[in-house]
Amino acid sequence: MCKHAQHFGYDKEGVIMNYAMALDYQNCINCKACETACKEENGVQLGVHKQRIWVGIVEGTIFGKPYVNLYPSQCNHCMNAPCVSVCPTNASYYAPGGIVKVDAHKCILCKGCMEACPYDARFIDDTTVAVDKCTFCDHRIEEYGTTACQATCPTKVRLFGDLNDENSDLVKLLKKERFFFQKERSGTLPKLFYIVPKDEAYFRQSVSHDTKIYTWETFKSHFMAKSANTRSK
């Protein structure tokens, strides 16, 4: 067993778990139910800039025709998380299931993790005077098997699951669909899988021409191999 196995949780059969989330962002209607559910479930600080998850809005035009892209987003729980490696007190750490978490009691407010995160997924919780971020609702995984944001989404944008379980709904979906990642070039090995839209127009306006598109097979051969390398180092 790999020496980093303690970072990951185990299921009942003793298999290492690696939690991730797929986002069928084409379905997002910007109702913000996920943002609200996250705040309620996790007791997140009130305020528009204090969000563990959010819906990113990009506006633009193609030949004068306006469009709006909606990208629901949150912490990518990277397998090679720069926020963890820069944290001087191990306040940022890999929790069971490969979930990147923050121990607020250990945070010295150096803000190194906020600077290092390419996804802008961290903020200061002024009620605890510490950095805060998404936890994949790890406190409710065992009971409900999913996150508050997924449970509340009316258009089924999000799908939470275990990447290491070939029978999980997540892996079944990823085997069927093509997907891509945010800022893949940062080398952080993120775990938010953005499902390529079926609508051709939405695909063209919301995916950059140099975005690398994966299938489950190509992902496993390239990505998981990289992840194994990173962890063994």
């Binding site: 990009v58 150096c110 005077v129």
Partner: protein
């Protein structure tokens, strides 16, 4: 003046009134008082902001504080740290003070190695200014961190993190520099001569390690390409620090040594140093911005930072000082003015580096445009959050820390004296 000796060091017997109430100390107290006001402001924001979480509304809905917190949550910003610019003026001043102070110490060691006698004679004063600036930098960063949790640095250290490496670095660096100052001041000449060369070489080594760790701290921030793509960041930090350090040495020499016969010789060396290091820095700047990520390079060279870059940094730190001292001149006013420009321009450079690193928003995640931070804002390629008044006061106050530390050393050891008997 009466003296007494401890461990080979001669201490001046100075009266209570002269020690605590001379002009330098009084100015220092005033500046530190400003820092105190700034710390009060920052701590009030950090620890006593009206803030509430989503559970508070359900648990205690009639709490009047909750009403204020909800109003602030909707209409204002809570706390002092923004998500857009987490590192601000604190870090700029920390960098400036630490790098410039270390630069002064580094330059003195180099000058001693190259046998510049006049710098050797003035070494005690220069090094004290350097170490005082290091303390001022640490003071600034201490006000920025949540000191209540600092014990976790020892209880749960991540020794590979750049930030953690700072702690053992300063635990070694500061006593080491103080020991160097001791060797310059001590009457134990035999010991000082014996240790001079190894200490000198170690000093240069420690200085290089210091800049290397600082560069590592910045280059670990994956998302900020200005910092990760500046070529040979350690070298940049050293060269840019040397320019401001020479400025500090120039102003210090003007204030302290200008009536001494050695002053022209000292200023002549500083002039040559300013010319040389400005030229190297200018070459570096040209090459660096050809390499750096274009998003950041464009924001700084042609975007909203262009005035600060060209007028605040390039003009003040390089162009004006270069032309002022380019011709061999006996005008010490020109060298002093050039020194002043490099000090101000150097600070602008540090400010630019810190704010510039944060300028390009993280919200360009999909390569098809910038996301809006919230529905009421316009998406932009540029982030800038003006420093809080408390931060500005703390930064001004940090100059008071330099003055106080320097003056305490000077009162006891008379470090302004040019010493001929240096090891």
């Amino acid at each position: 003046m009466k003296k007494f000796e401890i461990a080979g060091l001669e201490f001046n017997r100075v009266s209570f009134a002269n020690f605590f109430f001379n002009k330098t100390m009084l100015l220092g107290y005033f500046l530190v008082f400003l820092a105190g006001v700034g710390i009060y402001e920052m701590f009030e924001l950090r620890y006593f902001s009206v803030a509430a979480n989503a559970h508070a509304a359900g648990l205690d809905p009639t709490n009047p504080g909750l009403k204020d917190a909800m109003m602030l949550a909707v209409f204002g910003n809570v706390g002092e740290i923004t998500r857009e610019v987490p590192w601000t003026l604190f870090i700029a001043n920390y960098m400036y003070m630490i790098y410039t102070g270390s630069g002064v110490i580094f330059l003195v060691a180099l000058a001693e190695l190259l046998n510049f006698k006049i710098v050797e004679k003035a070494a005690a004063g220069f090094m004290t200014v350097g170490i005082a600036m290091v303390f001022a930098g640490l003071f600034t960063i201490a006000t920025d961190l949540n000191m209540l949790n600092m014990h976790w640095m020892f209880l749960s250290p991540n020794v590979k993190a750049g930030m953690w490496l700072m702690l053992p670095l300063y635990c070694t660096y500061i006593p080491f520099v103080l020991f160097e100052i001791y060797l310059v001041l001590t009457k134990k000449r035999a010991l000082a001569r014996k240790l001079a060369l190894p200490i000198l070489i170690m000093s240069i080594g420690v200085d290089v390690v210091e800049y290397y760790i600082q560069a590592k701290l910045f280059s670990m921030n994956t998302a900020r390409h200005l910092w990760t793509e500046f070529p040979i960041l350690t070298f940049y930090f050293i060269i840019s620090a040397f320019v401001s350090s020479l400025g500090i040495m120039g102003i210090y020499s003007f204030l302290v040594h200008r009536k001494k016969p050695e002053y022209p010789e000292l200023m002549s060396i500083l002039r040559k140093g300013i010319l040389f290091f400005i030229s190297v820095l200018a070459l570096y700047e040209i090459i660096a911005y050809m390499v750096v990520d274009k998003d950041w390079a464009f924001l700084i060279l042609f975007g909203p930072f262009k005035y600060l870059y060209f007028l605040g940094y390039i003009l003040l730190a390089m162009v004006l000082p270069f032309f002022l001292v380019f011709k061999s001149t006996n005008s010490h006013w020109k060298i002093t003015l050039a020194s002043l420009f490099t000090i101000v321009g150097g600070f602008a450079g540090r400010y630019l580096f810190v704010y510039g690193g944060n300028a390009n928003p993280m919200s360009d995640r999909f390569g098809v445009g910038y996301e809006k931070y919230d529905v009421y804002e316009v998406a932009s390629s540029f982030n800038y959050v003006h420093p809080h008044v408390g931060e500005i006061l703390i930064v001004i106050g940090s100059i008071g820390i330099v003055l106080l530390i320097y003056k305490i050393f000077d009162s006891f050891f008379g470090i302004t004296k040019l010493r001929d008997n240096h090891a």
